[in-house]
């Protein structure tokens, strides 16, 4: 009795054919130069838009994986990706751990807004930085606290416990928010600090912007924070925050761009600057750049050339896609400085 056998010869032929085909497609990809990047999730929608628009123009394939700022920095340091992206600038330690000099290039701006659910209150609530810090440190416990009431005359604030909601996942949003609170509250700077994940003194952790929004909307007396993009796209009402000049400003795309413009004068050469609590009028105070990270002298010069060309386009023509997606475009002065910095990247 013969046990049926695999027809080995046929199988081998099929494998050989498959190998030839995949080899062919690899060469094809190499011709259109595939560039890989990874990092922050916050700018992922605008980056995808840019890469697809630019791909149509120049026939280059740039691939971006939104794995988070920390992951992006790690992969860039290990040189498993060509470029990284982060919502917070790399620390000095991180830069020293990298095998070469890394440039920070701001691409667009984002902002963080306070959202809340207070029964009986339909008007926009006003906040100051120190009050938000005290709420998130558990020092202001009731909505009808004198400090909040004084800022919001005429609003009937209930005698209700404040439930603080923060992001539980490490995120650039938390980084910007904590960075702002550290600037306006010395106690926050000392006891909590600034990071993508901090040791929150009080409150509930919601996962992602949708987690935070879900908890805030369902919990009477809750306050939380989300990105401006998220609040605009989901039509969530948010509060007004006092800026460094003493004005109460509602976050909007112009008021966020204004924050960056206000920071131009004091812009350091490496663009690693926090623009929270920026000086000047019309400025929204909880705003930040998001950065694309590139090596100054990368190994692969062909990819470097493509990437520099792309960045020139993104900083100029590409900026027009920002507003539709809810991001604030860069002010022209910042773009000028960045184009000069791009020229220092080695492309040959």
């Amino acid at each position: 009795m013969q046990v049926p056998r695999f027809t080995r010869r046929n199988a081998l032929a099929a494998i050989a054919a498959a190998l030839t085909m995949s080899a062919a497609s690899v060469t094809l990809l190499a011709q259109v130069s595939q560039i890989n990047g990874a990092g922050a999730t916050f700018p992922a929608p605008i980056y995808s838009k840019w890469f697809s628009e630019y791909g149509k123009l120049k026939n280059v394939a740039i691939n971006y994986q939104p794995i988070g700022s920390g992951g992006g920095i790690r992969q860039l340091t290990n040189q498993t990706v060509f470029f990284g992206a982060s919502d917070g600038p790399m620390t000095v330690d991180q830069m020293q751990g990298a095998p070469g000099k890394i440039l920070h290039l701001p691409t667009v701006l984002g902002a963080v807004v306070p959202i809340y659910e207070v029964p009986g209150v339909n008007s926009e609530l006003k906040f100051t930085g120190p009050i938000i810090a005290d709420i998130f440190m558990g020092k202001i416990l009731k909505w009808n606290d004198a400090a909040i009431a004084k800022l919001n005359p005429g609003v009937k604030l209930p005698d209700m416990d404040i439930t603080v909601v923060h992001r539980s996942d490490g995120s650039g949003t938390s980084y910007i928010f904590a960075d702002y609170l550290a600037k306006v509250s010395p106690e926050w700077a000392k006891t909590v600090g600034v990071s993508t994940a901090v040791k929150w003194p009080v409150g509930l952790g919601g996962k992602g912007s949708d987690g935070v929004t879900g908890l805030v909307k369902q919990t009477p007396g809750a306050i939380g924070y989300v990105e401006l993009v998220y609040a605009l796209q989901n039509k969530i009402d948010f509060g007004v925050v006092q800026n460094a000049a003493g004005e109460f400003v509602k976050a909007s795309i112009p008021s966020v761009t204004a924050a960056a413009a206000a920071a131009v004068k004091a812009m350091p050469k490496d663009f690693r600057v926090s623009i929270t609590n920026a000086p000047g009028t019309g400025v929204y105070p909880i705003a930040s750049f998001t950065w694309l990270l590139l090596y100054e002298n990368p190994k692969d010069k062909a990819q470097s050339k493509v990437m520099v060309e792309f960045m020139k386009w993104a900083l100029t023509d590409g900026q027009k896609f920002a507003t539709d997606l809810g991001y604030a475009p860069l002010p022209p002065d910042v773009v000028k400085l960045e184009l000069a910095a791009l020229a220092t990247i080695k492309v040959s």
């Binding site: 920390g70 993508t196 929150w200 509930l204 952790g205 369902q218």
Partner: protein, 321 residues
Amino acid sequence: MLRRLRGRDLGFKIGTGAFAALIVVIVAGIGFELWRQSALSIQKFGLAFWLGDIWDPVSGEFGAKPFIWGTLYSSVLALAVATPISLGIAIFLSELCPARLRLPLTFLTELLAAIPSIVYGLWGIFVLVPAVRALEVAMPSSLRVLPIFSGPPVGVGMLSAVLILAVMVIPFTSSVAREVLKAVPGSQREAAYALGATRWEAIRAALFYARTGIIGSIILGFGRALGETMAVTMVIGNNPQIKASLFAPQYTMAAVLANEFTEAADDLHVAALIEIGLVLFAITLVVNTASRLLIWSMNRPIEARRATRIPVGAATAGGPA
């Protein structure tokens, strides 16, 4: 011909043996890699990592105790809720259910297992959490003084996590328990009836016969509860604190990994998170080993009785009393 078959037998034996050995290699590899990657944190904190209750990525202080507590507390409570329900489902489906209903009901329980955990999580946020909050608000203040019901009624917290875990564990435990009960030989029940047992007594005999498999199904559910990540993190409140209260927001090991790993850039933070993975791995290993030992010790007397040729059916029918 014979020689060739023998050769194939040998080849088959070696082949399958290699696959089995692969499992050992993978488990050892995971353990080693977790240990290697968390070396920084192990060196810095040592035993204090297990005992510390502060988790502060900014100042670089990491203690895992609140996460270990949250994981074990939520899993044990979820098991306490899910086990009786699962066994009830299993017994009904294998012993009492009309044949017409058996297939659709079995299908539905198994369908629960196929729902992705993110869907459970969303259901948790939008349906379960508001219901739990309503329950918490409605609870009379005389009960609220008890430590397990203390704290503000916010809905998210241990109770929501326990309930969602229980729902997720039920399909696993109940379908394995049902299969185990189905595998009990008909002669067991017939023997019980022949001795004049009532239906309930016959079912008890079957349960006793299947007890090691049932324990196994419960352990399977426990493993599922220990490792569940997405649904739990969405409803537990993610606050690393050790509280007995069911209303308090707490945190689990799997949840902190899912939350902080992607954004952790600092080496020590990453190492501490990987050490959390190592702790979870160690706890899972201990739980599984302990359950094996339990099953092994339960099986021994039966085998001893088998050896002396006492009919097993007779022994089991009288056994569980």
